[in-house]
Symmetry: C2
Subunit: 99 residues, 2 copies
DNA sequence: AATCTACATCGGAATTTCCCGATATACCTG
DNA sequence: CAGGTATATCGGGAAATTCCGATGTAGATT
């Protein structure tokens, strides 16, 4: 886990918001289907809550994925993103020890 | 405490290193005087451990100070910097809750 | 006052980040 | 296959960041 890369990923209001929303997807994305907890939330659903273009949101999500903080599942024409809680535990542990 | 600003401050290898060094200044700055724990470490001492110019190190330190993560004390011609552990506790608490 | 030392600030070139519109790709449906 | 929808990727302008050398400023020394 590259500390600098993770902190860069977190250095953006929108990306922080997305990560926080994904903590409780049922609450923040009520229009999403029933398997929200399992597969996560699709890009379009996230984009509708963010005042940014589709391409920007897509890039933010893959950036977050590259850091390992979120994971994606492709189902049909949708890509669902959800938090990787294990990565968050690792990050918090790192911060606790090294910061 | 502005999360984005703090994460930006942490998004840099050198700044992270400095913050880690300041956790145990006696260990990492043995040439510094006796009141290291009280006032911290001066800019020049930090610069000698970093492969960057004086102006860059000075700017990094005031950037970190603006976030509140470190504090400065001017004594004579020296400016000493040390960690603000209270700010780190606040940050870790924020990360624990919001991330 | 003249000078030296420690640090801060300024101006700027190079790089990176932000965010967009356009386009490409993948999948689904008729 | 043609057309529609969801997402990814590309190219790029604008803004921010990185880091430098030069210069400014404050305190100490002579």
């Amino acid at each position: 886990m590259d500390q600098v890369e993770v902190f860069k990923a977190l250095s953006n209001k929108t990306r922080l918001l997305i990560l926080q929303w994904l903590k409780d997807p049922e609450l923040h994305f009520p229009d999403q289907g029933r398997c929200v907890l399992e597969v996560g939330v699709c890009v379009g659903e996230i984009q509708r809550k963010v005042n940014l273009t589709q391409s920007t949101v897509s890039e933010y999500l893959s950036l977050l994925q590259r850091t390992g903080l979120i994971e994606s599942t492709r189902i049909g024409q949708w890509t669902y993103y959800k938090r990787n809680e294990e990565a968050f535990r690792e990050l918090k542990n790192l911060i606790d020890k090294e910061l």
